[in-house]
């Protein structure tokens, strides 16, 4: 039967030329303390880009030490049927644990996991819809092990403060040309409920600052419900007419929704942009080289949290201080708001794709598991998430 499979695979390989050549799993090197050989599915939020390459490079490096192999797929933000199909396909591919980055269709996905005996954990996703509306169905479900958010989750958010700090740091570095007038952009509340909360947090910080420093007051344009909420499209051409004379935009979304319009409008050389998220190539127009003055990302190594939880469960191990129900954990954010920060960031795995630039080595990850290290604790696993800032980069 095995040889028949190979023949079939070979025949298809001929049909599709060279595409099948990369289709082979990696064998582990189980030596007794690194667990049984496990296949983990990873449902990412996009199929290409620096973050995807970086996370794959990081996980690839873990394969032999942790005796694990990974299968990848791409999920949708808001197409539940697609997510269920993709999870089913990962289960079909033999995955015993799945890491997902989306919170759409969770009930049905967890029912699939129950039927197949597969465990699920989250990465770069706060599962906020589930957390608010379906806590018992998801976080108390025995097949859901927990999630790590893309930064601080829910009410823990500090993004508004972070943005404010970046603006002030910029002004301190550029006293001759400070930012005095800003406008904001956010994602719609139905999709990103904390986007507007972050903007309000930013405004509150500015008001406090203005009260203490009237001579350096910063004006924030009143929030325009129609113009400043981006419906997953770049800011429209009239944004700059509706926010005249601004020095900077504080974008509580990826800069890719704002920067192209800045270029089109011819303001990219004069206006500054503080954004959440990082896109390939942004470093070329960052800091002293261009408009971007702040970007923020979570380290790809934060995937260690769901991965270790899954491996523990599959290997039948648990921590002595393991919480009874699944948790959503905050992750420290890498805030890049100066040329120095960018220089550091450019040497992280996020941009180099070199495993040796990662925060954690494979041995350190193995040491975090309960089955390989009886002294390992859940608190220890959570602690690593607090040390993935720009300052922590080697």
């Amino acid at each position: 039967m095995k040889s028949f499979k190979k023949i079939i695979a070979l025949m298809l390989a001929c049909c599709v030329m060279f595409s099948m050549t990369a289709c082979s799993g990696n064998g582990g090197n189980a030596d007794g303390n690194n667990g049984k050989h496990v296949k983990i599915g990873v449902g990412l939020y996009q199929d290409s880009g620096a973050a995807v390459d970086a996370v794959k490079a990081y996980l690839k490096n873990l394969e032999s030490t942790l005796n694990v192999e990974f299968a990848y797929t791409v999920l949708s933000t808001n197409d539940e049927a697609l997510n269920i199909t993709k999870v089913q396909e990962l289960i079909a591919a033999g995955c015993e644990g799945i890491i997902i980055t989306m919170d759409a269709g969770m009930d049905a996905i967890l029912a699939e996991c129950r039927d197949a005996g597969v465990y699920l954990a989250g990465y770069l996703c706060d599962f906020d819809t589930s957390y608010r509306n379906n806590y018992s169905g998801v976080f108390e479900n025995e097949y859901f092990l927990g999630t790590v958010g893309d930064g601080p989750c829910g009410d823990h958010t500090t993004r508004g403060v972070d943005f404010f700090n970046s603006v002030i740091e910029y002004n301190e570095r550029n006293p001759e040309n400070p930012i005095r007038h800003v406008a904001g952009t956010v994602f719609p509340a139905f999709a990103f409920p904390y986007s507007k909360v972050n903007f309000d947090q930013f405004v509150a910080e500015v008001e406090k600052y203005n009260a203490e420093n009237p001579d350096k007051a910063i004006t924030v344009d009143p929030f325009n419900e129609e113009t400043d909420v981006l419906m997953f499209k770049p800011v429209d051409s009239t944004y700059f007419s509706k926010h005249p004379d601004i020095d900077a935009i504080v974008a509580f979304n990826a800069g890719s929704f704002v920067y192209p319009s800045m270029v089109s409008a011819g303001v990219a050389d004069t206006m500054k942009l503080f954004a959440a998220g990082y896109n390939d190539g942004d470093n070329a127009v960052f800091g002293s080289k261009g408009a971007y003055q702040q970007e923020m990302v979570c380290a790809v190594e934060s995937i260690t949290y769901p991965l270790v939880l899954l491996l523990n469960k599959i290997n039948g191990a648990s921590y002595s201080d393991q919480p009874e129900t699944a948790e959503r954990r905050d992750c420290s954010t890498m805030i890049i708001n100066s040329d120095e920060d960018l220089a550091k960031f450019e040497h992280s795995i996020y941009l180099t794709f070199q495993p040796e630039d990662a925060f954690l080595t494979p041995e350190e990850v193995l040491n975090l598991t309960a089955y390989a290290n009886p002294d390992a604790t859940y608190a220890g696993l959570c602690e690593i998430l607090d040390h993935m800032t720009i300052e922590d980069l080697k």
């Binding site: 005249p244 920067y259 270029v263």
Partner: protein, 331 residues
């Protein structure tokens, strides 16, 4: 007098559109910021020119095939793949001119390949071009590390063809290629015959395969020019699941409108004024905060429906007017 009438009729659509949007926006409070009216101004001109140039190039590529009786689904995918290849090469060479040259060459190669699949496979054109679209989209994940091209438009020197006045160069070239093809080449004239009656054209000795491949090369050149503008204005991400057809569809309105408006003069001019008119329409919607979200889609749908209905019923409308005028004359 006849010429003046033609010019008037040709320019009627964008003029009417401008006047309509002017009146509507002037009465909309959203179009006033700190008491200043924002619809009229340099931003309107810049927006309309930048958008119209992109629309004209894509629309010409679609129209060139459509005019020859073929609806090519793969134009969008060819444009995106060309933009990624040319953009990455342009990024390495640092020259917008090399980018445009590479884009034109790659566009020609891709469209020639599409034509080859269609001719050698002898497939219905929709099926052949859907297959090729899927193939080109899949290639966007396999070349240059699957990263698309995100930094090209950020560079002012490289993105010369994405801004004024550079954007006018590829647009003018695309229009010139289109006009040259249809008015000064045998291929273009034979293409018209094949479009009118394919069987009769083949029976009088037109070598259809040669015509298809030559037309594809001209289309490819225009696709390359469209890709040059596209990569100079946008970050280009890899695409899948026929999403490039959606990109192409977003430029299709000027094609059909251009067909109608071009009746007064020439289809290239028709497409140009249609693109300008649509640019004014979109800018007006943006001013009124209707440029995004659900309402924009619904308004666009109603507009498309209304326009098509008008064009489809034009003969009947003319008849009604003629009858009215006759009655008046008789009275």
């Amino acid at each position: 007098m006849k010429l003046l009438k033609k010019i008037f009729l040709t320019l009627l659509f964008p003029i009417l559109m401008f006047l309509a949007m002017w009146i509507i926006t002037a009465n909309n409070p959203a179009c006033y910021v700190n008491g200043k009216y924002i619809f009229l101004g340099f931003d309107l001109i810049r927006f309309v020119i930048l958008n119209a140039c992109q629309s004209i190039c894509v629309a010409l590529a679609i129209w060139m095939q459509l005019k020859n009786g073929r609806f090519d689904f793969s134009n969008g995918a060819a444009m995106i793949l060309t933009a990624i290849i040319a953009g990455n090469i342009g990024l390495r060479t640092g020259s917008p001119w090399i980018t445009m040259l590479v884009a034109v060459l790659v566009g020609i190669v891709l469209c020639a390949f599409t034509a080859a699949v269609y001719m050698l496979g002898r497939l219905p054109v929709v099926i052949a071009t859907i297959g090729v679209t899927l193939l080109y989209e899949s290639l966007t994940y396999l070349i240059f590390g699957g990263g698309g091209i995100s930094t090209f438009y950020q560079n002012n020197t490289l993105s010369f063809f994405g801004h004024m006045p550079g954007v006018l160069i590829p647009t003018a070239l695309a229009m010139a290629i289109f006009l040259f093809y249809y008015n000064y080449t045998v291929t273009g004239r034979k293409g018209k015959i094949l479009a009118n009656n394919q069987a009769a054209g083949v029976n009088i000795g037109i070598w259809e395969e040669a015509n298809v491949s030559q037309t594809a090369m001209f289309t490819g050149a225009i696709v390359g020019l469209a890709a040059t503008i596209y990569v100079s204005q946008n970050a280009v991400a890899p695409q899948a699941s026929l999403s490039t057809a959606g990109i192409m569809f977003s430029y299709i309105v000027p094609v059909y409108m251009g067909m109608l408006l071009g009746m007064a003069s020439n289809d290239v001019i028709g497409i140009m004024v249609a693109a300008i008119g649509m640019g004014i329409f979109n800018y007006g919607l943006n001013c009124m905060n209707l440029g995004g979200g659900g309402w924009q889609q619904i308004i666009m749908g109603l507009f498309v429906m209304g326009f098509y209905t008008f064009s489809a019923q034009l003969d009947n409308i003319k008849k009604v007017f003629r009858r009215l005028f006759k009655k008046e004359a008789a009275a």
